[in-house]
């Protein structure tokens, strides 16, 4: 199984779990969780730096803030900048370009949000941003809803993977529309990553059993009572689900089918 890597565009990843860097109680916990998750690809957000203007009379500056990159070994982890929080194609495109310059890679997890309560994607803007960024040479991984038609359009627009949600971001509800994920699996010719909605290990395993090529999550790990233990459980769940998918499950039957022989019973 050593060759069962996740391949997206021109890159190969030995882990099918992609994890985030948000909402951790401390950088130290994040570092240990990343380690335990076995993930190789890590998402980051692009935001304005805090500007500390020097005082007029050379007043002392505030102590220098630690940067997220102080805690991520970029020789070990591949950074995937996101466009989280963007509500238009234009904003997302600007953010993707800035992320490319900050991270020196041309990969982007493309998000264009349509509504702040649900964080559901605005798929019209998402498609437009995908087309523009693909033209500019980006490897675009769009976060989208679990709509097979939108996924197909994203693929046609040049997306390197499709990333349907399992449930709303950070909701922990698990995969709400199993059958849509199954249909997307049948349609997709690019990798299918279930992105968002995972609450616990069985959700990640289910995603993989349905045939997803990978799972992307943040809150399920960062928000767990013990993020490091949850990270490890997600690593095992993704692996288990993948193996189960490749192994081929038995069909579901309504009635029992005995495992022990019917013949040779004592006293018959």
């Amino acid at each position: 199984m050593n060759s069962d890597n996740l391949i997206i565009a021109d890159k190969s990843f030995s882990s099918r779990l992609i994890v985030g860097t948000g909402k951790y109680a401390s950088a130290a916990v994040m570092v240990r969780a990343h380690e335990a998750s076995g993930a190789e690809m890590i998402t980051v957000a692009v935001r304005r730096v805090n500007i500390a203007l020097p005082g007029a009379a050379g007043a002392p500056r505030a102590p220098k803030e630690a940067s997220l990159l102080d805690y991520i070994d970029t020789s070990k982890y591949f950074l995937l900048p996101n466009t989280a929080g963007c509500y238009t194609a234009d904003e997302a495109i600007r953010t993707a370009r800035l992320g490319r310059e900050a991270g020196l890679s041309h990969w982007v997890k493309l998000e264009v949000i349509g509504d702040e309560r649900t964080l559901f994607p605005d798929t019209e803007q998402l498609l437009e941003a995908t087309r523009v960024l693909v033209r500019e040479g980006f490897v675009v991984l769009p976060y989208t809803n679990d709509d097979p038609i939108v996924c197909r359009k994203l693929e046609d627009a040049g997306a390197a993977a499709v990333m349907p949600l399992g449930a709303p971001i950070g909701s922990g509800l698990g995969i709400q529309n199993v059958n849509n994920i199954r249909i997307i699996r049948e349609f997709a010719r690019v990798p299918l990553i279930v992105d968002a909605g995972v609450g616990t290990a069985s959700d990640a395993a289910l995603a993989m059993e349905l045939g997803a090529d990978g799972v992307l999550m943040n809150t399920a790990i960062a928000g767990a009572q013990d993020p490091v233990a949850m990270a490890e459980s997600m690593k095992l769940a993704v692996r288990a689900g993948r193996l189960a998918c490749l192994a081929g499950r038995i069909p579901r039957k309504l009635y029992a089918n005995a495992s022990s022989p019917i013949e040779g019973l004592v006293g018959r």
Binding site: G20, T21, G22, K23, Y24, M30, T43, V44, A45, V46, R47, R48, V49, I51, A52, L53, P54, A56, A57, G58, R61, K64, S67, L68, L69, L79, P81, N82, A84, R94, R97, L98, G99, R100, E101, A102, G103, I169, G170, A196, L216, M217, N218, T219
Partner: protein, 82 residues
């Protein structure tokens, strides 16, 4: 927010510049390049990306780009996200 900066030890004559920096109006002594702006703000250029009037600047060009009156500058870095 509108803050003033001292001209410091610069040999250049003091020419006040007002720019939009990360959405805030900021006044500072000019002339200066984007590299000099980052240095004054104590920002490590290797850790950020800079957008100058909606154009993302390539790392190697920060020394050459001069900040002008009214310019819009965005300086971003990576933070935690999912």
């Amino acid at each position: 927010m509108c803050a003033k900066m001292s001209p410091g030890a610069s040999a250049h004559p003091f020419i006040p510049l007002t720019i939009q920096l990360n959405g805030d109006r900021v006044e500072m002594p000019g002339p200066l390049t984007v590299s000099e702006l980052l240095a004054r703000l104590a920002i490590d250029a290797r850790r950020v990306a800079v957008e100058h009037n909606l154009v993302v600047l390539k790392r190697g060009t920060l020394d050459e780009i001069v900040v002008h009156e009214g310019d819009q500058i965005e300086i971003v870095n990576f933070v935690g996200g999912g």
